[in-house]
Symmetry: C2
Subunit: 333 residues, 2 copies
């Protein structure tokens, strides 16, 4: 296998010049750099990535810290987000590494090692909650990062949907179809996306005096939607419109309503969120909100690579928004 | 930040001894190694991973080359397999990196760089087809690997379900319930899992003279099940039992049968595969085969780490099998 010495000899330069040239150091003239690269190509030279990292300071790796993979029933949102991350990282010459910590304590321990041992040049974080120690740590470390979601702590760079508007649009759609007694089956109250969606839902309900809106928070597997829905109905609350913060929650609700003898959409109109592929095959077909998870992934990486390229000098928080669209199907009436 | 010199001074050893000790080199006595590790802990010492890689020869990273992420509608199988890979890698002190090539040509190019530049200590491959150049390359390179699925080329280490038996068990279940005109909605004919499942299906059909079994191969998104099913019925073939090689294909079929006025399970009994979480919320609930994707992921990594630890000296192919179970629900009658 060719070594850096072979390259230098063939290109007629010193070993250190060859090394600088391969690391795209600006001190080497364009023409010399060209000659060195040609020599490396001709000799089929591949330095170990770890050696390139030590000489260039770059790992060419992005790390995804995701506490929730597998927690979502269909995982459609996750796999599309992951694919967006992957494709944008590859386009920038990076590979994508994944860690799934069990809890916040493990996430903070992983992040600490990741920064100290420089496993990657930047980190993608997901699923922020009220007091997110991981986010505080990454800000304190000054490490390049991007968060999917709205940050509860300052100084964080993020990409997100406008979740207040996402929920308000879905809710107004049901109100426009004549629904008056609405329920939001929401995620855990500690999650910022759930806080934003509750706000959008309640604002849209409050805008029409004929409408009442209630919110129930569930956590864990989507199964939790069934007892939450049963408790709502057993308490004697009227219900003719249901907004669910994910399609799996909507699909579990669809089944639970069917088992109580309630018809969708005649008795209860339903709209979910994420626009998972399966929504078009449920019976009836499920209306949903397309959140453009792939674009969220791509935007996250583009924002992160800009920060890495700027050597962390861009500092401060930035928030990029990705658009959403209602996808109307049979379940919403 | 502490350096290797600080460690050596505190432990009362030379810099080279400290370095060898931290790399768990056997030339350093156990007691000395202990002293060095204690000094490193006390000084909160974290060498860059790249530096550790160059000194130890290990990257502490496993690479997943997956050509198909996102191709599966619900992705439930993929996320569970990924979680199994991740958890077993983490337990072994490894991180997991992911590449999703668009086609075989890109997969071979990525594998070539991965091996030459040593991006990782081993690779997990998925979705083999008839003539898999990627598998031939990894065998030729002698690089530690494990494949999910049955290999069409010799010399490959793999984990798999017994897909002949998976399909035979699902088919026999429908026959036992009195179904006589069966259809297998199968994956692409070039994929080894689809070949094995066609064989199991046809063997089970052939074992009972009253039963006829036909196979249709589909590729791409699960939507493809609908026109394949329509063509089968339009050709005048009888149908009272349907085996689908994935739950998404089964769910699309459920919807397509409903739209033709056929009842499930009264007219057509259905069983899918993968036991995705959504199967218990379809209407009717979908019978399926649990393939234990999480265990497949864990077993893949355990097999791979054993090969890495043996320094590639274990050679030859090995095939690990993971069990499956029928999960009977309303759709199969």
């Amino acid at each position: 296998m060719a070594t850096i010495r072979d390259i230098a000899r063939r290109a007629g330069v010193s070993v250190s010049t060859a090394s600088l040239a391969l690391n795209e150091d600006r001190r080497v003239r364009q023409e010399t750099r060209r000659r060195v690269v040609d020599a490396a190509d001709a000799l089929d030279y591949h330095p170990m990535r770890a050696a390139r990292t030590l000489s260039s300071g770059r790992t060419w790796s992005i790390h995804l810290l995701d506490p929730a993979i597998g927690a979502n029933m269909s995982s459609g949102f996750f796999t599309r987000f992951l694919r967006g991350l992957h494709d944008a990282a590859r386009d920038g010459g990076y590979t994508l590494t994944l860690t799934v910590p069990h809890d916040e304590r493990e996430a903070r321990a992983v992040l600490k090692r990741l920064v100290a041992e420089r496993w990657s040049d930047g980190v993608v974080l997901m699923n922020p909650s009220d007091h997110d120690g991981v986010l505080e740590d990454v800000v304190a470390a000054g490490f390049p990062h991007v968060l999917l979601g709205r940050s509860p702590v300052p100084g964080v760079s993020s990409v997100d949907n406008d979740n207040v508007l996402v929920a308000a649009d879905a809710t107004r759609h049901l109100v426009d179809r004549g629904r008056r007694s609405l329920l939001l089956i929401n995620g855990p109250a500690s999650r910022t996306f759930a806080q934003d969606r509750a706000r959008g839902f309640l604002e849209a309900c409050g805008a029409d005096a004929r409408v009442t809106g209630r919110v129930v928070n569930v956590s864990g597997a989507p199964d939790a939607a069934a007892p939450a829905l049963a408790a709502h109905l057993d308490a004697g609350h009227a219900l003719d419109g249901l907004v669910a913060v994910s399609d799996p929650l909507a699909i579990v609700s669809l089944r639970a309503l069917h088992e109580r003898g309630l018809r969708v959409p005649e008795d209860v109109a339903i709209i979910g969120m994420n626009n998972d592929d399966l929504t078009q095959y449920t019976n009836p077909r499920l209306a949903s909100v397309e959140l453009n998870a792939y674009d969220l992934g791509r935007d996250a990486i583009e924002s992160l690579l800009a920060r890495i390229d700027a050597g962390g000098r861009t500092g401060g928080e930035g928030r990029r928004m990705v658009t959403h669209e209602l996808v109307i199907r049979e379940s919403s009436g």
